[in-house]
C-alpha cells in the first residue's frame, strides 16, 4: 500500500502534455466519435459505437502517414461501448485514437466499459515502455472515474502489451481491482471474453506479419523526405563539376544518376527491407539492409553501363558500391524501432559496429565519387 505514490508523472516535461486540471474530469461528450451519453452514478458518460465512421478511418490513414500523428488523442476517462451495466467488462486502453478505434471496432454488438488512460496520445505498447500507460495512471483513472460505483465486479482487462508499464499486483493492492492481461491484438478480445478471460497461445505471441510491416512503410518513408530534399539537389549540382561536357550536361549525367541511386538506396532500406524482413540474410538489421543495398547497387550500375576500361568509370562504381549499401543498411537499422522483436541490448550491440561502418562507407564513397568526377 505504501510503496505507491499517486500523484506522479507530473514532473515530466511533455511536448504534448495536457493540463493536469482537465485530466481527471470525465471525457467530453462533444467529441466527434461520441454517439450520445449514458447516465451513471458518476454522471453522464460518453457512449460510443463499435461501428467506425469514415472520419475515423480517414484519421487512421492520416496517422499512418504521419499527419497529425502526435496529436491524435481522445479525452481520457471512462466510455460506454453500447449499453453496459454494472456487470459489463472493463477494458483499458490508451488515449491514442487509433488504439481506441481498433478496440471498439473489434467488439460489434457488445456492451463494455472502456477505460482510457492518459498516455498523451501514444499507443499502448510505446506508452507502457515510457510508463505513461502505467500502474500509477491506471490507479488514478480507476479512482477518478468512480469505477467502483459503476461496476459491481473488480476486474480490469488490459492489453497484454500494456504489461511493461503496469504492475498488476500493485494495482490490486491499491485499487482492489484485479488486472487480467488480455490478448495482444484487439481482434482477439471478443474471443477472449467469450472464453471467460482465457487466451490461447496464439493470442499471447507477438508476431510481425507482412501486413503489419507494410502499414509501417509510410512513416518510414516520411522520415526520409526531408534529408532527401536537402541532399538530392546537392548531389545533382556536384555531378555538374565533372566530365567533359558543360556543367548542366554533366549534372544531367552524373548528378541525375546520383539522385536516382540515392532514392533507390532509400527505397531499399525503407520499403524493401520491411517487406522482405524475415527472408533477408543475417540477424542484424544492418546486414539485411546491406544485402538489399548491394543488389540495388549492382542493378543500377548494370543499367548505367559504365565504361570499365577507364579509371573514372571504375572508381565511380566503387563509390556507389559503398554509398548505396551504407544508406540502405542505416535505414534498415532504424527499422529496429518499429519491429516487434529487437531488444535494446541487441540494438546497441549492432550499432556499435554497424554505425561507424555506415558512416565511414558513406564518407569514403562520397569522396571517391567526387574524385571520379574530377578526373573524368
Amino acid at each position: 500500500m505504501n510503496n505507491i505514490t499517486l500523484p506522479v508523472i507530473q514532473t515530466e516535461s511533455s511536448c504534448c502534455g495536457t493540463a493536469q486540471m482537465v485530466q481527471d474530469a470525465s471525457p467530453h461528450l462533444n467529441q466527434a466519435f461520441v454517439m450520445g451519453s449514458i447516465p451513471t452514478t458518476a454522471g453522464d458518460l460518453p457512449k460510443v459505437s463499435s461501428a467506425l465512421k469514415w472520419q475515423d478511418h480517414w484519421g487512421s490513414i492520416k496517422a499512418r502517414w504521419g499527419v497529425g500523428r502526435m496529436d491524435y488523442a481522445i479525452d481520457p476517462g471512462l466510455y460506454a461501448l453500447g449499453n453496459p451495466d454494472n456487470n459489463s467488462p472493463v477494458l483499458v486502453t490508451a488515449n491514442y485514437k487509433m488504439s481506441f478505434d481498433r478496440l471498439r471496432e473489434a467488439l460489434p454488438g457488445r456492451d463494455a466499459w472502456i477505460l482510457v488512460l492518459d498516455t498523451k496520445g501514444i499507443n499502448v505498447w510505446c506508452a507502457a515502455g515510457k510508463g505513461t500507460f502505467g500502474t500509477d495512471e491506471l490507479i488514478r483513472k480507476v479512482d477518478s472515474s468512480s469505477l467502483k460505483d459503476i461496476v459491481s465486479h473488480r476486474k480490469l482487462i488490459l492489453p497484454q502489451l500494456g504489461a511493461p508499464g503496469v504492475a498488476a499486483h500493485k494495482v490490486k493492492q491499491v485499487s482492489g481491482f484485479k488486472v487480467y492481461y488480455g490478448p495482444i491484438r484487439a481482434a482477439d478480445v471478443a474471443a477472449y471474453l467469450d472464453a471467460g478471460f482465457k487466451t490461447t497461445t496464439g493470442m499471447r505471441i507477438m508476431i510481425f506479419p507482412l501486413v503489419e510491416r507494410i502499414v509501417l512503410i509510410p512513416i518510414e518513408l516520411i522520415a526520409t523526405i526531408k534529408p532527401f530534399l536537402i541532399i538530392a539537389p546537392i548531389l545533382f549540382l556536384l555531378g555538374g563539376i565533372g566530365g567533359q561536357a558543360g556543367f548542366w550536361a554533366n549534372a544531367a549525367n552524373y548528378g541525375l544518376f546520383a539522385v536516382v541511386a540515392f532514392l533507390a538506396a532509400i527505397l531499399g532500406g525503407a520499403v524493401i527491407n520491411p517487406i522482405l524482413l524475415p527472408y533477408l540474410p543475417g540477424r542484424a538489421f544492418s546486414i539485411k539492409g546491406f544485402s538489399i543495398g548491394i543488389v540495388t547497387a549492382f542493378i543500377l550500375l548494370y543499367l548505367r553501363d559504365i565504361n570499365l576500361q577507364v579509371w573514372p568509370g571504375r572508381i565511380e562504381i566503387l563509390a556507389w558500391l559503398l554509398i548505396i549499401p551504407a544508406i540502405s543498411a542505416y535505414l534498415a537499422m532504424n527499422f529496429t524501432g518499429a519491429s516487434t522483436y529487437t531488444s535494446l541490448s541487441g540494438v546497441k550491440k549492432e550499432m556499435r559496429w554497424a554505425l561507424p561502418l555506415q558512416i565511414t562507407a558513406s564518407i569514403c564513397g562520397i569522396l571517391i565519387w567526387i574524385t571520379s568526377l574530377l578526373i573524368a
Binding site: 516535461s13 515510457k130 504489461a163 511493461p164 524475415p278 519491429s339 522483436y341 531488444s343 541490448s345 550499432m351
Partner: protein, 109 residues
C-alpha cells in the same frame, strides 16, 4: 510466421529460481514465449527471443525476474547519443533516474 529472433546472447534477462513462486504471471505477459512452466517453477526456455520489454519483471510479485528494460530502437539510441530527445518519435524525455532506460524513440503508431 515463425517468431523471429534478433541477435543471440545479448539480453539482460535474469531469473532467480529460488524466489519464483510459480504464479505464472510472466507466462501471461511475455510476448515471445521466453518462459515455460517446469513443475513448480518457471524456467527460461528461449532466452534469445527476449526483447527486454520488462513486462515480466514489472509483473513478478516475487521479484524473481530482472531485466534492464528498454526499447530496441536505433533511432532512439542515436537521439540519446546526440543528446536530443525530441526526435520524430514519441514525446518528451523521461525525468532522469527513472527505472526505465531511455525511451526516446520507438513508436510504431
Amino acid at each position: 510466421m515463425k517468431n523471429s529472433i534478433y541477435l543471440k546472447n545479448v539480453v539482460t534477462l535474469n531469473f532467480n529460481e529460488d524466489k519464483c513462486t510459480g504464479c505464472g504471471m510472466c507466462l501471461d505477459v511475455c510476448p515471445h514465449e521466453v518462459f515455460k512452466m517446469n513443475g513448480k517453477h518457471m524456467t527460461i526456455q528461449n532466452r534469445d527471443a527476449c526483447m527486454e520489454c520488462g513486462a515480466c519483471s514489472k509483473n513478478c510479485p516475487a521479484d524473481a525476474l530482472f531485466v534492464q528494460s528498454g526499447v530496441g530502437c536505433a533511432a532512439a539510441v542515436i537521439n540519446s547519443m546526440l543528446g536530443r530527445n525530441d526526435g520524430e518519435c514519441c514525446c518528451s524525455s523521461e525525468p532522469a533516474g527513472t527505472i526505465t532506460d531511455n525511451r526516446g524513440g520507438c513508436c510504431c503508431g
